[in-house]
Amino acid sequence: MKKWIVALGALLVLTGTSYAANVAEDCGCGLGKELIGEKEGLGWNLLGTFLNGTSGNQTFGMSSGTLGCSKPEKFVMNERMDVFVADNMDSLAVDIATGNGENLDALMEIAQVSGTEKAKACEALQNNFDSIYPTANVEDTDVAQSIRGILAQI
């Protein structure tokens, strides 16, 4: 009863943007994709939701384990890099172009490159920006492949 009173009393209440999320999950080593839609406009500002969130359906996939996989570590590392590059295409490109940034740090951690090697690697990636991103429609798998190629030469 109390909840209905509160609900009625606050019917006009609370604006928010709502997020509709669809989850399509690739089966395999904890990969997942999400599409996020955002509703905007004054109407939605006045009436909206506050349900706050998406419904991702992965498990601790990215950083800890490749659930359901029994592939060798090297393959797993490559796969993690592929996933990361695919999920962060734009931000990673910005970091590579500017020579620093959290996305670049993350990439280096996944590739297990650290210390002085990391500084050299970041510079090499920045210098080779054009070969990593030759056109505006370059695919994530090609980007990951090029990055791996450049890192292998450090």
């Binding site: 999400e34 939701t49 706050n52 992965q58 505006a136």
Partner: protein
């Protein structure tokens, strides 16, 4: 053979392993089902009596009555996993409960524990509480959202795993969303996804700043939390926006991590995310805060770094009026070029997020800008820093009580007001460049000393003000919304009670970094005995200047000018209000108001003390 017939059949039946029944007895003797931690594992708030789990999915429980009978659930757990037979349920879905019961009975069990492969593969080291704050132009998002990230093998924050409790709505109709969300008709699920996805969702797409609060949990405590989370995958609880919401449910995770911790007992009518963070600070779970700016905040910081002509160049670059190569050829210091190109990159991404440009145009501009940027080296960290706004937990508490003394046209009065939530335009906790107000059920009672009368001066059901300043790249519309009961002047000069529903939308700009000027055409529906026909509609303007002369002083000069029909009256309400912040939860206000309706007017001056709690 005759002998065989005489021997009772029960001797040949497979008995229940004596161990499980014995274990159940031992568990009873040790009062394990009454242990507060057992109840936390079953998702029951600390100290709640009688026991009831907040989880609604039947698959979460082993016993049919598990939701309301803690002892039955414990018995069922022992029977399922501590027998000599192969367990008929997967251990991973009950791993937290199993681990704890095993620990409690390890002195009388001689078999090694069952292993959950999934849990063994995860190596948690620490956890962080993440708080996406409000979205510019959406004050209700100021209540915010909280989720937890769990750091495992990697140090880079964005590679942590985010654990998020959210409702899965089955309806897209805004009204149904609201009602269902409040009434608990949506199912809430925990989901696990890479933190960088949440950063993209909140920071890039929703333009919300994110605050990260590292939790001081040990790896062992974090591991207990992870086991608890593994049990909650695919289970649901009904999501209630006001109380059983994201922030409240996250507290269970912390209680599971650290036995003895009590956070869930404080559930009032509402649970506001920022309050749960403050509660964790009080329990010494959080001592630090990190700021992660949204794309919008980076744009504003970038603009601040440029002079007017440089900003114009940035604008031209983003509009493709000049090419990146032409820009590189200009005679400008490298640092300026870097900062300008970084800004243009952010602007381009912002425009895509706001759907102001299409994918094809975006890609060309984006790549072109980066190609130019890559020739300029790394640059210094200062070129990318974004000054952090006031840290949210340092702000005032949510509820407010105000005592006022004042004079209205020569009559003195006292007033007392209560506002359950949340924040006022004049608060100095928020950045000086924006104006935010959300007030809920703001109730005022006034005692007029001349007429010796106590009356309800006003009851605002909801009042929202969002003043979002426009700059060359980000051009939001500011807006206000108000509904409630208040005193309004009639055409004969009396004050009469009225119900007002009004909304305005328009523009705001920063004149200086500490001030914002706004101009919002407004429409109002008014219902009152003081009106000719009992009701009227009005059109007009709401305009003013919000200014912060000092960090603890904010002042507002504003006016509502309205023309009402069918009464054919003009009304003007001007206010000059000041707020001086004494400390986190105490403020002093000084206000002067003048109301004019046709040839009548009234002056009101008041001095208030506002206390937050």
């Amino acid at each position: 053979m005759v002998l065989a017939a005489i021997i009772p059949a029960s001797l040949f039946a497979q008995p229940l392993s004596p161990d499980t029944e014995e274990l159940i007895q031992i568990a009873r003797q040790r009062h394990l089902s009454e242990d507060p931690y057992w109840r936390t594992l079953l998702h029951c708030p600390t100290g709640a009596s009688p026991y009831e789990s907040f989880v609604d999915a039947p698959t979460f429980f082993l016993a049919e009555t598990g939701k309301t009978d803690a002892e039955a659930e414990l018995d069922a757990l022992i029977r399922t996993f501590f027998g000599s037979d192969e367990p008929k349920r997967p251990i991973c879905r009950f791993i937290a409960r199993y681990t704890w019961v095993y620990e409690q009975l390890s002195d009388v069990i001689d078999t090694p524990p069952l292993i959950c492969e999934e849990a063994e593969r995860i190596t948690p080291s620490s956890a962080t509480l993440v708080f996406p704050t409000y979205h510019l132009n959406n004050p209700a998002s100021m209540f915010g959202h909280t989720f937890i990230t769990i750091e495992t093998n990697y140090e880079t924050p964005m590679l942590a795993d985010a654990v998020n409790y959210a409702a899965l709505p089955d309806s897209r109709n805004p009204l149904t969303y609201m009602v269902k969300g409040i009434a608990g008709s949506f199912k809430g699920y925990y989901s696990i996804l890479p933190y960088y996805k949440k950063i993209q969702e909140y920071g890039d797409m929703a333009q919300r700043d994110i605050w990260e609060y590292p939790l001081n949990l040990t790896p062992e405590e974090t591991r207990r939390m992870v086991l608890y989370i593994l049990e909650l995958k695919d289970t649901y609880s009904y999501y209630y926006f006001f109380d059983k919401n994201c922030s409240y449910m996250l507290q269970f995770l912390l209680e599971a991590a650290r036995p003895g911790l009590s956070l869930t007992q404080d559930k009032g009518l509402t649970v506001i995310p920022i309050d749960t963070i403050k509660a964790m600070q009080r329990q010494s779970l959080i001592t630090d805060a990190r700021y992660r700016p949204s794309t919008g905040s980076r744009i504003r910081a970038g603009l601040d770094r440029l002079s007017k002509p440089e900003a114009k160049l940035a604008r031209q670059l983003s509009d493709n009026a000049i090419s990146p190569d032409a820009f590189l050829a200009m005679d400008l210091p490298d640092e300026t070029k870097r900062v300008t190109l970084d800004l243009v990159t952010d602007v381009t991404r912002y425009r895509l997020a706001k759907k102001k440009i299409g994918q094809a145009e975006y890609r060309e501009t984006f790549l072109g800008t980066l190609r130019a940027r890559k020739t300029l080296g790394k640059g210094s960290p200062e070129e990318k820093t974004v000054p952090a706004p006031p840290e949210p937990t340092k702000g005032h508490d949510a509820a407010r009580i105000s005592t006022t003394v004042g004079v209205v046209d020569g009559d003195s009065f006292e007033e007392i007001a209560v506002t359950p939530a949340f924040t006022n335009l004049l608060n100095t906790d928020h950045t000086k460049r924006e104006g935010i107000q959300i007030e809920f059920l703001h109730t005022r009672a006034r005692f007029n000393n001349e007429e010796k009368e106590l009356s309800l001066e006003g009851l605002t059901i909801l009042d929202i003000i969002s003043l979002a300043p426009r700059n060359t790249f980000i051009r939001p519309l500011s807006w206000t919304f108000h509904t409630g009961y208040e005193q309004r002047m009639t055409k004969t000069g009396e004050m009469k009670g009225a119900y007002s529903l009004r909304a305005a939308t328009g523009m705001a700009w920063n004149l200086t970094e500490e001030s914002i000027v706004f101009l919002l055409p407004e429409a109002e529906f008014l219902s009152s005995k003081g009106l000719d026909k009992g009701a009227a509609v009005g059109a007009g303007i709401h305009t003013g200047l919000l200014f912060s002369p000092a960090s603890n002083w904010r002042t507002l000069l504003s006016g509502h000018l309205t023309r009402r029909m069918p009464d054919d009256t003009s009304e003007s309400r001007l206010t000059f209000e000041n707020n001086l912040t004494l400390n986190k939860n105490n403020r002093i206000g000084l206000a002067v108001n003048r109301t004019d309706v046709e040839e009548h007017h009234t002056w009101e001056t008041s001095l208030s003390w506002h206390h937050y709690f």
